[in-house]
Amino acid sequence: MQSLRSRILVGMMVAIAFLLGSYGVVVYEAARRAMLAEFDTALLAQASMLISGVEMEFEGDGIEIEIEIDISRVPGLSEKTGGTCFQLWLDNGKVVTRSPGTGETDLERFCDEDQPVYRDITLPDGRSGRGVGILFEPTMEHKGKSVQKNEIKIAPDGTIIKKLKWNQTGDHEDDDDEDEEEADQRQSAPSAMILVFARNTDQMTEHLAGLRWILLLAGGAVVILAVLLTSVVVSRGLRPLNTVAENIASIGAKELDTRIPTEDMPTEIQPVAVTLNDLLERLESAFYRERTLTADVAHELRTPIAGVRSTIEVALSRVRNPEEYQESLTDCLTIAAVMQSLVENLLMLAQLDAGQVPSRAEQIDLQELVTSSFKPLSDRAGEKDLDLHIDLPEGLSCTADREILSIVMSNLLNNAVSYADAGGTIEVIGKTTDNGAMITVANAGCTLLADGIPNVFDRFWRGDKARANTGSHCGLGLSLVKQCMDFLGGLAEVEIKDEIFSVNLTLPADPNGEG
């Protein structure tokens, strides 16, 4: 599920359904218990009324039980299908009497010595019901006369009047074979009786079912309403997010200067917007750099290409002697070499920018590095009658990537040879510092002013006059030097004093502590 909105909706729906469900179950259970308690109370009250109509009389050696129950006072008791019934037992299990509702079936007998027992039972007519079982001692009365036979009368007002004569030698035939002790006990007159009074629970079940339906329907309605409401609220709540999305969607490569307004934004989204704005800013500057660089590269390549092109076209414009062709080819070769170095420098810069240059640090003898870097330049230096003066302490060395450091040195010496006044001196002075080594490459003949220093490391930047002097520089040398020194963890600084242009290189510390 990708949509935040549907996630929230589904989450809310599940949560609300769960909460409402739990709440409904609790309410239902509470209602059921309350109804049950009420039912049980009524059951007990009616049972108690029945019990109050049961009397026991001692008559000499017998007991007479007199039951006088006004069954009309208990609704449904007098009818066979009234849904209400009772059954009365002696505590020895002998059925004393039962209501018409029981039919011919015995009710389940249950009781407890201390308290009434309630139990869900199936009524004789098959309906489910609930009954209370009570163990009780009927009211005792001593009478002089005994009743010889059981008699049940039903009074005109519906009262069942049953008289039961109980002989001490009562008929307990089923237990005759048991041992003497028990037989003795049972010989004694029963002192307690058991009443199970039951009523069907249809009405309560109906009520509960009604309640269930109400809870389910209300719950369902609430869930649906909650989902609708949540959907509206979520939509409104997520609107700022949509706005942000629209804002972002409208930003193309050409509108990178736009920012997402954050003033009226909810605090939760603000950090996202702020981060996005930061990203936009970085993108913008990266794009700007890229664009400027591309334009610069295009510009810098156009000029030499124009040179090659016009050299070749002029050469081809008529038939010439071999010497003239040779000269044109040599000119083209020179231009190609400059273009090659431009492209290579650019590539190197791009690789350094992207951190794609592997570093292989090794011990480098700086004297040897300077000498070997100067060798390819010695012809040009000779033409300008330049003198290279190297002043390095014996065995001055450093640990760095040889290839990168020689790019640095070659570029600096190349610059010096190009820009130094003819007949001058290029000085390479080195010294040991606490942190490593330091080398200065200096040449006289600088026409730059000190306020141009911040620009010298910029790509394609050239001092105005500088270009006139050489025409063969691409304006990448110093920026490559800086980038390389950054890569090596060193430092490159430019100093201009009394028309002397010097670059100070601070080389990273030598881990071996030599030199």
Partner: protein, 224 residues
């Protein structure tokens, strides 16, 4: 035709000046903006080829100064910047045309020829004087159906005179259009070249197309 080339990139300087000279132009070359302005104000040129990125003074400032001085010389801007803004800037400052580097040498020549033609009332690339026909684009000259072979310098002289048919042109004017600023050729070299031209153009025994106006110079006439 005399051209001032203000371009600081040595290979372009070298190849363009060589090519233009071979095409019969007199070419003054400089790589510095200030120097370029000095050349342009001190001499008469048919066309100035102007680079934008220049040491000393950039090309656009140079152009602005030149126009402020009332100099109406045709200026063709050579630029490595292809952005519309740069081109519009150049044209707005009074450049007559521009070319973006790298350009085709042939196109440069063609555009120079257009600018040269613009100076004269006749914009046609083919000049016809009597039976003489000059195709300025191909730099070929015909008399009737016979082609006349001319050297570059002879051709330049012919075209210069032909463009001004009926006008008397002074030796000095001719010299200035034929030779570069630092040329050490003397002014009577003009007479020598006029002599070469007459020999090639005129039929023996007939009156010359190029008539000498005593004390003033030469004039080209339809003649025979």
């Amino acid at each position: 035709m005399r051209i001032l080339l203000i371009e600081d990139y040595p290979p372009l300087q070298k190849s363009l000046s060589k090519g233009l000279r071979e095409a019969g132009f007199a070419v003054d070359v400089t790589g510095d903006g200030n120097e370029g302005l000095w050349y342009a104000t001190g001499n008469t040129y048919d066309v100035i080829l102007l680079d934008i990125m220049l040491p000393g003074m950039d090309g656009l400032s140079l152009l602005k100064k030149l126009r402020e001085q009332g100099n109406q010389t045709n200026v063709l801007v050579l630029t490595a910047k292809s952005e519309l803004e740069d081109r519009v800037n150049g044209l707005d400052l009074g450049a007559d045309d521009y070319l973006v580097k790298p350009f085709e040498y042939e196109e440069l020549l063609a555009r120079i020829r257009v600018l040269v033609r613009r100076e004269y009332s006749d914009k046609s690339p083919v000049l016809e004087i009597g039976k003489l026909k000059i195709e300025t684009a191909a730099q070929r000259v015909w008399r009737g159906k016979t082609e006349i072979e001319l050297t570059a310098r002879e051709y330049t002289l012919l075209e210069y005179l032909a463009r001004r048919t009926g006008q008397t042109v002074s030796r000095n004017d001719i010299w200035e259009h034929l030779y570069e600023f630092d040329s050490d050729a003397s002014s009577n070299v003009v007479d020598v070249y006029v002599g070469y031209l007459r020999r090639k153009l005129d039929k023996p025994g007939k009156e010359s197309m190029i008539r000498t106006v005593r004390g003033r110079g030469y004039v080209m006439e339809e003649g025979s």
